[in-house]
């Protein structure tokens, strides 16, 4: 049995959802055109992940085994809708920038994956920690990818101009750059974590 501290750290480094488990690739590539967007997407996913993990571990004993996946999806989709409406109301510019990827949190494999693999088997407190760890791991990964792409493509970081914009190839903010940056970051992560 892992202790609680390990449950939390597990998602942040050792089983980082983006770099190690390779789950949720679509938002990792699609929303990381800048550090801010990546961070925003990470936090939105974190919120859904924590809420759905907690609720699923609370109601797990009443869900018949056969319909558990549809039941999980309904719980997740409800929270995604709540987050979507909140973002539309309070951070409209971020809501616009992330676009279709906010409703698509529903089909982010991390969330259903953690519901099935962790929250449906553990108590509320540990599920909360697991959601938090995985969410933080996802958020820092997305922020990092976003920051690298923003610096390389736009010569800025968190919207702050570094004054090198005219030298930077714009392709890094576009689709191919997303694949390249994530690919090379993954190589780096593999290399560093193997030691």
């Amino acid at each position: 049995m892992m202790n609680n501290w390990k449950v939390l750290w597990n998602g942040i480094i050792k089983q980082n959802p983006a770099f190690v488990l390779v789950l949720g690739m679509c938002p990792t590539l699609g929303t990381t055109t800048s550090a801010e967007n990546g961070f925003g997407m990470g936090v939105a996913t974190l919120a859904v992940l924590v809420l759905s993990n907690v609720v699923i571990s609370l109601i797990k004993q009443w869900i018949p085994d056969k319909v558990r996946i549809p039941a999980f999806i309904v719980v997740i989709a409800s929270f995604v809708t709540v987050i979507e409406l909140l973002m539309q109301a309070y951070v409209p510019s971020l809501y616009k920038a992330l676009g279709v990827f906010i409703p698509l949190i529903v089909v982010n494999c991390i969330i259903l994956g953690r519901a099935e693999a962790f929250a449906s088997k553990n108590n509320v407190w540990r599920s909360l920690l697991d959601g938090l760890g995985m969410g933080v791991g996802f958020t820092w990964a997305l922020t990092l990818v976003g920051a690298v792409r923003e610096v390389l493509g736009n010569g800025a970081i968190f919207g702050y101009e570094l004054g090198i914009k005219s030298y930077m190839p714009l392709v890094f903010v576009m689709a191919p750059g997303g694949f390249f940056v994530l690919g090379y970051l993954m190589i780096l992560f593999n290399r560093l974590s193997r030691k």
Binding site: M25, C26, S78, V100, P103, A175, P176, G183
Partner: protein, 192 residues
């Protein structure tokens, strides 16, 4: 909406390729693209389900959600719809055509969590397409997905024979290959 069918079809297959420019459906794109045969199977299953979902989702949105004023329920309704369609296709296929079921069967459960399917359903509504354009858009997007998948698996079959450093093997190599493919697809920008 005065966009021509040709612009929608050509645009969604090449110019705005769903995987390589919009990053939808990247998970199956990386996961099942190691053999050409399996990627063709996956592509066929996705094409089938995506078209079917748009045929059902469009009327449900326009004639149920809009009159009731509950458009914000779109995400929940669509994901449940996709899950039931996938389930239904699986059951029907098993009864009607066991041969086709054997070919597509293993891919079907994966489609529920393929974000391209939900993404296309949401996008066709937000783009304001009418019924015919929505169906054309979904089918063409699915063909674009299949194209990307088959191209990718062709490259990966070749890559298997190459010596690749250990840290680069697997997903990272696939991502870099996908990046090159995406670069090539950028050549289509501006055609439609």
């Amino acid at each position: 909406m005065e966009t021509s069918f040709f612009a929608i079809v050509f645009g969604s297959i090449f110019v705005n390729n769903v995987v390589l420019t919009q990053f939808l459906g990247v998970c199956p794109f990386l996961g099942v693209s190691s053999k050409i045969k399996t990627s063709l199977g996956m592509g066929a299953a996705v094409t089938f389900v995506m078209t079917l979902v748009s045929v059902i989702a469009w009327p449900v949105y326009m004639y149920v959600l809009v009159p009731l004023g509950i458009e914000y329920m779109q995400t929940i309704v669509f994901i449940l719809l996709i899950a039931s369609v996938v389930q239904m296709v699986e059951i029907v296929l098993k009864k009607v055509s066991p041969a086709l079921y054997r070919a597509l069967g293993i891919f079907l459960p994966l489609i529920t969590t393929n974000c391209a399917v939900l993404g296309v359903a949401i996008l066709m509504i937000s783009k304001g397409f009418d019924f015919g354009h929505s169906v054309a858009y979904s089918a063409a997007t699915a063909v674009g997905f299949t194209l990307a998948l088959v191209l990718m698996s062709g490259i990966r079959e070749r890559l298997e024979l190459e010596g690749i450093p250990k840290a680069v093997q697997g997903v990272s190599m696939a991502l870099i290959t996908a990046g090159m493919l995406a670069l090539a697809f950028m050549g289509f920008v501006g055609l439609v």
